[in-house]
Structures are given as structure tokens and as C-alpha cells.
């Protein structure tokens, strides 16, 4: 019955997408190819021996509801194939794909079509819009395929167009729009059917850098409102780190690592990932809690000055943070003033505590902390949203966290 308790705990947050042992092998000899790739034989050698290529090798992951899951890899890494296995635009060679607990590799054509109509939306790198239709007609496409009545179709399409910020362009011909606007149409088309899962295949890769950044920001904002499960494919690590709740890094069909942006940066699982993340601007990704140390040295508000002095002596420091009974941050006392207070016979730290101390929250980006920390004599306390103090960041920790070379040094 151990199994059942495990299952029960999983049922709280069942994965929307789950893959098990997923392979896609192109070529005449999948069986031998699978054996070879499982033994980590290099791709060129596998191709020479079997005339087959494994585009996706033993992919197994779970994607939770409302999660933005980014699959990242360079061209030829199999990322585009992998996303197409999830909606069976490409048939898997081996393995299973579960959507809401249902193995979709077992579905027949009609069932698969129904599933695509009801649960999936997809956005393509080259937009894949119909040039003979205007904006609203393109956005209606998915609803039309479903056989929705035309009045309802128009209404939903117009809502989706407004969601992506294209209101007023409903009747514009597609060719009159810029790339960024065309991709908004693509996004609106995918959203119009209100799908549970959104597949985005290099959706922003064909756009200018400036437009791309803008679209990324809007996707984040849109996602905060709509709460879709998003599978986002990209070759751009910065984009992956920015958008992803979790990132899967692929190389030659193999998923090298799956983790949060911070894990990918701070604990790269392989040399490949390490070399990948070396040049990333870590300040844009890492937050205070990833470089903070838990501070043992704090005084309670009700503690007497002599107790505070003892803690400072113990830790060999000249100032001390003060928290209240709930560990909420109060302020800072210095050794000089505390000793002074003892002479005066004060019973609490209340009178000498400095309350205007610089603090940061756990999710403050290192980039934003850097200017704050300069000229700071004491570490910066890190607070949770509710005001509880969870740790401190020293300037040294901050600078080390920003430099990727720490990994290499360790």
C-alpha cells in the first residue's frame, strides 16, 4: 500500500503532460539504434552503423498544470521533434505520452483529432498563417475546425485578438502586418480555442531582438492571467531562463538536465550545460535566495543587550540583526551602542535598534542588488514576503554568485 500513498500525494498536483521512455528514431533500423543510443554511442557512429538517427532519446518528464516548461537546445538537438511527439504531429517510435493521465500514443485518428481540437494550441516559428484570410479569419481557424457556430466563433476570435493586443486590426490582411504582429495573430489563433496546453515552437525566434523581448514580456503577463500549461521551444538560453519555470536542456536528442533556471545556472549537470550557461548574465536570473546564507547570528527583540553582545562575541561580528518573536525583521544593533546601553542599564534593545536598514526580498534579482550593496558595511538581510528574515547576503557572496567561474573553481 506504499504505492497508493505515493499516488495520493501525486494526485494533489497531477502532471498535465508526462512522457515515459519517449524515443523518436528516423531511419530504417530503430531497434538497433535504440540499443546503441542507450549505450551513449555517438550520433555519427550510430548513423554509420544503422543508417538511422535518434532525434529524441529516452525522454521522461512531467509538466505540471500552469507551468511554463522550456525545451532548449541548439539546432538538431531534437527539441522541435520532441514537442511534436507531445501532440503526435510526429509519431513516437517508442514510449508513451500522457496528457491528463491518458496515453495519447494509443489514440486512433479520430480520438487524436478530438484531443487536438479540445486541448492543444500551437504557435509556429514561421507563424504559419493563411495568407488568403485576414486577421480575424485566421484567428477563427481553430474554432472553425471544431465546427463552432459562426457568431460564437467571431466573438471568441475578437476576444483573443484583444488578449494579444491586436484590437482594431481584426479586418487587416495578414501581409500588411509586421512579423511581431503576425506572431500575435498566431498566438491569438492558438488561444482562441481556449486550449489547456500551448505548444510554442521557436515562437519568437524569427522576430527582431527588440520585438522578441517585448513578446516575451507579454507572454509572461498573458500567462499570469490565463494560466495555461506552456511548452516553449527555443535555442536561446536567455529566453529559456526568462520564460521557463523549468528548463530541459537537450543535446543530440538527449535531455541533459531538467531544472529551474537557478538550478541550471548554479548546478549544471554536465559539462555541456556548464559550457552553455557560462556566458549567461546571471544577474538577470539568480535571485537573493540563491546566494544568501542562513544567518544564525540574530538577536530577539526581547533579548537584553548583554545577550546581544554575547552573540556578537561568539560570531566575532560588530553588528547584529534583530528579529521579533515571529522572526520578522526589526533592525540592526551595533556593538558600540549595545555596550553603551549596558552601561546605562537598559533592559531591552528597543532604544538602540536601527530600523532604517536596507533589506531585499528573496526574489530580488542579483542585478538589482548589486548597486544597493556597494558601500554597504553590513550584509543585506533577505526577507520573505511576510517580513520574516530568512538569510543574509554578503557582498562577497553576491559577487561570487554573479561570476560563473565559481563552478569551475569548486
Amino acid at each position: 500500500m506504499e504505492e497508493s500513498t505515493n499516488l495520493a500525494s501525486e494526485q494533489v498536483d497531477p502532471p498535465v503532460i508526462e512522457t515515459r521512455g519517449l524515443y523518436k528514431i528516423f531511419g530504417p533500423n530503430p531497434k538497433d539504434t535504440r540499443k546503441l543510443v542507450d549505450k551513449n554511442v555517438p550520433r555519427s557512429e550510430v548513423l554509420a552503423q544503422t543508417r538511422s538517427t535518434a532525434a529524441v532519446v529516452n525522454a521522461g518528464f512531467k509538466i505540471a498544470k500552469s507551468e511554463t516548461f522550456v525545451i532548449m537546445g541548439l539546432s538538431g538537438s531534437g527539441k522541435s521533434t520532441l514537442v511534436r511527439l507531445l501532440n503526435r504531429l510526429i509519431e513516437p517510435t517508442y514510449g508513451e505520452v500522457y496528457i491528463d493521465g491518458q496515453d495519447i500514443t494509443k489514440l486512433n485518428r479520430t480520438e487524436l483529432r478530438e484531443l487536438r481540437r479540445s486541448k492543444f494550441g500551437m504557435v509556429f516559428q514561421q507563424f504559419a498563417l493563411l495568407p488568403h484570410r485576414n486577421v480575424v479569419e485566421n484567428v477563427e481557424f481553430g474554432l472553425e475546425i471544431r465546427g463552432a457556430p459562426s457568431s460564437q466563433r467571431r466573438e471568441k476570435a475578437i476576444k483573443a485578438i484583444h488578449d494579444v493586443g491586436l484590437g482594431g486590426y481584426e479586418e487587416s490582411p495578414i501581409q500588411a502586418l509586421s512579423g511581431g504582429m503576425q506572431q500575435r495573430v498566431g498566438l491569438a489563433r492558438a488561444l482562441a480555442t481556449n486550449p489547456e496546453i500551448l505548444f510554442m515552437d521557436e515562437a519568437f525566434s524569427a522576430l527582431d531582438p527588440l520585438i522578441r523581448t517585448q513578446m516575451q514580456d507579454e507572454l509572461i503577463e498573458l500567462q499570469a492571467r490565463l494560466n495555461k500549461t506552456v511548452v516553449f521551444i527555443t535555442h536561446d538560453l536567455d529566453e529559456a531562463l526568462k520564460l521557463g519555470d523549468r528548463i530541459a536542456i537537450m543535446k543530440d536528442g538527449v535531455i541533459e538536465q531538467i531544472g529551474t533556471p537557478e538550478t541550471i545556472l548554479t548546478e549544471p549537470a554536465s559539462d555541456y550545460v556548464r559550457s552553455f550557461v557560462r556566458n549567461v548574465d546571471r544577474g538577470k536570473v539568480l535571485t537573493a535566495d540563491s546566494v544568501m546564507t542562513k544567518s544564525q547570528a540574530v538577536a530577539r527583540q526581547k533579548d537584553g543587550p548583554s545577550h546581544a553582545v554575547r552573540i556578537m562575541r561568539q560570531h566575532d561580528i560588530s553588528s547584529l540583526f534583530v528579529v521579533d518573536n515571529n522572526r520578522c525583521f526589526v533592525g540592526l544593533v551595533t556593538i558600540d551602542e549595545t555596550l553603551e546601553a549596558i552601561k546605562k542599564g537598559a533592559k531591552t534593545l528597543d532604544e538602540i535598534v536601527h530600523r532604517d536598514v536596507l533589506t531585499v526580498e528573496t526574489n530580488t534579482l542579483l542585478r538589482d542588488m548589486l548597486p544597493l550593496s556597494s558601500g554597504q558595511k553590513v550584509p543585506i538581510p533577505v526577507l520573505r514576503e511576510d517580513g520574516r528574515m530568512v538569510g543574509i547576503v554578503t557582498r562577497a557572496a553576491l559577487l561570487l554568485g554573479l561570476s560563473a567561474e565559481t563552478e569551475a573553481a569548486v
Binding site: N87, L89, L112, R113, E114, L115, R116, R117, F120, G121, M122, F124, Q125, Q126, A128, L130, P131, H132, F141, G142, E144, I145, R146, P173, Q175, T193, F199
Partner: protein, 281 residues
């Protein structure tokens, strides 16, 4: 050593003729009916009315700004009328239109099949090559064998001769649809029919229209040749000009054919670019 394939082909034709006699008879009936229908429609109204209608179609196809074709239509067909070739011209036009429609009815579905399936294309392609390279006159012989003399065998030969470009250009049009568009429609759960009617055919329309234009032009050239088996019309005049050395008559017949050809070509071309413009705008 010699080997002649001819006698076997003859035997095959004879066997087909006797075995499918009733099929050929009913096909002939349908063809005859449709040709007559077109002759009645085109030849029914007085020439003046018809010229106005033809000019109206040209105007509709080209738009007001390009009035050249409309002027040409009025002048050209008036000339045909004055040369006393009106009736024969309308006969030829009727034969062209009924043959073209039949060729399109058969050709476009075959083209669609070839566009969607590699295997179908591989099967059909040699047949198309055969149909296109075989000298046009050769079609006349089996046509006569199955349907004897007159307009019906003329029409049959024309259909066979004029069909290949329509098949090819329909296939080409479907193949040119970007694969990501097909992928996108599949990802939204489109059925094969939805994909065909909502994505492939609209995208292939310019190419299909070019194919229709080609088919009409080839039908016109074949209809003239079909005069040799008694299909009548302008081809008959040209043929009489040749056989009786009446150079003036032959020239007049030829001129009427040129007027008809230019009218059909420019009008269908204009219709084609009209729809293409719509796509590109």
C-alpha cells in the same frame, strides 16, 4: 525480326468497343447533350446581345480601368460577325467550353489526388507524359472508333488532349503549399477534407486557375484539329481552306480562331490574377 504493337492495340480497341458499347453510348449521349446545350445558350441570343455579354464578362474580369480587353472584344467579335462566321465561332466556343468543363471535372480531382499522395502522382505522371507527347491527331482515331464521326468524338479527343496541364498545375499548386501550414492545420485537429478545402485549395487557387487557362487554350487548338473528324465549327472552315486551296476563307477562319483564343486567354488570365491579387493583398 519485326514486331508490331499496332495490331494488338487494334484488338484491344475492338474488344473495348464491343464490351463497353453501352457505356460509350451513354457517354456519347451525355456529351452530345452538353454540347447542344452550350450551342443553344451561345448561339441562341442575337450576335449583338452576345457581343455585349462577352464584353461584359471581359469588363468584369479586368475591371473598369483596364478597358483594352473590352474594346478588343467588341471589335474582334464584330469582325467575326461581319465575316459571317458568327455561328461557327459559337459552335467552336460551345465545343471548347463543354470539353473544358469535362476536362476540369476529371482533371482537378486527379490533380488533387496527385498533390496529396506521392504514390498517386507516380502512377499518373507517365500517363500524363504519354497524353501530352502523343501527337494530337492520334487521339482522333480511337475517338472515331468508339464514337464514330461528329462533335462527340471531337470533344472526347479534346478532353484527353487538354486535361494534362490542369492535372499538373493543380498538383503543383497543392505541392507548393508550405508544409508548416499543413502542420498547423493538423495541430488544430483539421480533418483531411478541412485541410483540403480550408488550406490547400485556397492556397493553390492561382496555380489551378493557370491550369484552367492552359486547358482552355489547348482545348481550342484541339477543337480546330477535331474538325478533321467532323467536329465542325471554325476548324471546318480552316480545313476547307486547306483542302480546297481557298486561302482567303482559310485566313478568315484562322482570324476568327485568333480572336476567340485571345479573348479566352486574356479573360481567364485576368480572372486568375484577380484572385491572385486577392491572395497577395
Amino acid at each position: 525480326m519485326t514486331f508490331h504493337i499496332g495490331p494488338y492495340f487494334e484488338a484491344l480497341i475492338n474488344w473495348l468497343k464491343t464490351t463497353f458499347q453501352s457505356f460509350f453510348d451513354s457517354l456519347a449521349g451525355v456529351l452530345e447533350y452538353s454540347i447542344e446545350l452550350f450551342e443553344n445558350i451561345l448561339g441562341g441570343p442575337p450576335p449583338l446581345v452576345m457581343i455585349i455579354i462577352l464584353a461584359g464578362i471581359a469588363w468584369w474580369a479586368c475591371g473598369l480601368k483596364k478597358w483594352g480587353l473590352m474594346v478588343f472584344t467588341v471589335l474582334g467579335f464584330s469582325l467575326v460577325w461581319l465575316m459571317e462566321l458568327w455561328g461557327l465561332t459559337m459552335q467552336t466556343l460551345a465545343l471548347v467550353l463543354s470539353s473544358t468543363i469535362l476536362a476540369l471535372l476529371i482533371g482537378i480531382p486527379i490533380g488533387i489526388a496527385c498533390g496529396r499522395s506521392q504514390r498517386a502522382e507516380q502512377a499518373i505522371r507517365p500517363l500524363l507524359d504519354f497524353m501530352q507527347t502523343m501527337p494530337a491527331f492520334v487521339y482522333l482515331i480511337p475517338a472515331v472508333l468508339f464514337f464514330s464521326l461528329g462533335k462527340v468524338p471531337g470533344s472526347v479527343a479534346t478532353v484527353i488532349f487538354a486535361m494534362p496541364p490542369c492535372v499538373r498545375l493543380t498538383t503543383l499548386g497543392l505541392r507548393q503549399v508550405p508544409p508548416e501550414l499543413l502542420e498547423a492545420s493538423s495541430s488544430f485537429g483539421a480533418t483531411a477534407w478541412q485541410q483540403l478545402f480550408k488550406v490547400q485549395l485556397p492556397m493553390a487557387l492561382p496555380s489551378i486557375l493557370a491550369g484552367i487557362n492552359q486547358t482552355i487554350m489547348m482545348a481550342l487548338s484541339m477543337v480546330v484539329i477535331a474538325a478533321m473528324i467532323g467536329a465542325g465549327g471554325l476548324g471546318g472552315i480552316v480545313l476547307r481552306g486547306i483542302t480546297q486551296m481557298k486561302i482567303g476563307l482559310g485566313f478568315e477562319g484562322g482570324l476568327a480562331i485568333v480572336v476567340l483564343a485571345m479573348y479566352l486567354d486574356r479573360t481567364t488570365h485576368a480572372l486568375g490574377s484577380k484572385s491572385t491579387l486577392h491572395v497577395e493583398e
